[in-house]
């Protein structure tokens, strides 16, 4: 295995543990309720499904540039990173502790398909608990920053958690959405959404679209170091959680719907945003894309 060389380590490919190891200051990570404690799902055996020692989420504390961080990282390859009872409760416990301890920030390395169906009610409720705890931490002045670039994306309730964070960093591979492509296709037909058209999937919910419309605050190359730099930047610049922020968010989202509500495709939105060659956006490298983002005023805001 390659060591945690954060400049080379692909966020998309890395495991939750590899991401944390490389993201934080070397050797600074302390896990709580780690795998040796074997706090595994009490429910998966009923479905004859294999369990994971950490139930697919790694939580603990560490430091980033010397500042204390609380961190949670979902493992997108175990049950699609989905929220089960133990998985969700670990996140909730971490967020609740943040309210008392007040670390410099909480970093959520989201990589999730949403709720784990085999434990759906527990997962759904845990997401609601997590959102309340995020709001409490933010109101107490602790920034909560989401980092999204894993293969499971950030779907279902995970998308709502992302929308609750102070700031979000996303890479090209990262997808943020409530209903997944397959779910839309299953319910509404392939005419509504052809989930096999992967270019369409990424145009509609991928990192570049989210960044351009202001659904995420930073766009990262697919390396751990890019996410680390973005996290440091975003922590220093996190909006407060108060009436002003939500009033601004209301106006921001309302304006988005007014302006782009008639658009059929992301490329129509990008054209309206002033992007010269919308069809060229998917192929742009990070540098070219950053220049494009700089032209879209919707991309920069404190309204979250």
């Amino acid at each position: 295995m390659a060591g945690p060389d954060r400049d080379r380590l692909s966020w998309y490919e890395a495991s939750a543990r590899q991401r944390l190891d490389a993201l934080l200051d070397p050797g600074s990570f302390t896990e709580v309720l780690g795998p040796a404690e074997r706090r595994m799902s009490p429910h998966l055996p009923l479905f004859d499904l294999p369990r994971a020692f950490d139930d697919g989420i790694v939580v603990g504390s560490g430091s980033l540039d010397g500042k204390t961080m609380f961190v949670a990282a979902q493992e997108g390859r175990f049950m699609g990173g989905a929220f089960g009872e133990v998985h969700g409760a670990k996140l909730v416990g971490l967020l609740r502790a943040a309210l008392d301890v007040k670390p410099a920030a909480v970093l959520l390395l989201l990589d999730t398909g949403g709720v784990r169906l085999q434990e759906a009610n527990a997962g759904e409720t845990a997401i609601a608990e997590a959102m309340r705890a995020i709001v409490a931490a933010r109101a107490a002045g602790v920034p909560v920053v989401g980092l999204i670039g894993g293969r499971a994306g950030c779907f279902g309730g995970g998308g709502l958690i992302a929308g609750t964070c102070s700031r979000l960093a996303v890479s090209e591979g990262g997808r943020i959405s409530v209903s997944g492509p397959e779910v839309i296709e299953t319910n509404k037909g392939a005419e509504e959404f052809d989930s096999k058209d992967r270019a369409l999937v990424w145009r509609t919910m991928g990192g570049k679209h989210r960044r351009l419309i202001g659904g995420a605050d930073a766009f990262c190359a697919d390396t751990v170091s890019a996410f680390r730099e973005a996290a440091l930047r975003l922590i220093a610049d996190a909006p407060a959680f108060d009436l002003d922020t939500l009033t601004a968010e209301q106006a921001r989202l309302r304006a988005r719907i007014d302006r782009f509500g008639q658009c059929r495709d992301a490329t129509d939105i990008w054209a309206k945003l002033g992007v010269n060659d919308p069809d060229a956006v998917p192929a742009m490298d990070t540098g070219a894309f950053d220049e494009t983002v700089a032209q879209a005023r919707e991309a920069v805001h404190d309204a979250r």
Partner: protein, 102 residues
């Protein structure tokens, strides 16, 4: 789910002092391996939970070869399997041993 446990005696303890390590992910065709230095220095135990029934003899052979090669004395190894192929199991076991030796 099928549970398997194999116990071996080794000629020496696994080098290094790291108390525990984990590698791999429970996913289709993959597995996670947790290693803990909690046994007497000449003992090794491997406990497996697998959703694929009927591969006991294969697991036994894979574990025996690993123990002969790595001599992981003192280590308890716990495996959550996601239906990994034997070569992947071997690779993860070796990766785990290397992590413990670090």
């Amino acid at each position: 789910m099928e549970s398997l446990t194999f116990r071996h005696t080794t000629t020496k303890p696994l080098p290094g002092t790291k108390p525990q390590a984990i590698t791999g992910v429970v996913a289709s065709g993959n597995l996670e391996i947790l290693l803990e230095r909690v046994l007497p220095p000449d003992a090794c135990e491997v406990a497996i939970e697998t959703p694929v029934a009927g591969y006991g003899p294969v697991w036994e052979a894979v574990v025996a070869d690993f123990v002969a090669r790595a001599q992981p004395g003192g280590v308890r190894i716990s495996i959550n399997d996601g239906g990994a192929r034997p070569d992947t199991v071997s690779l993860r076991l070796l990766q785990g041993a290397r992590l413990m030796e670090a």
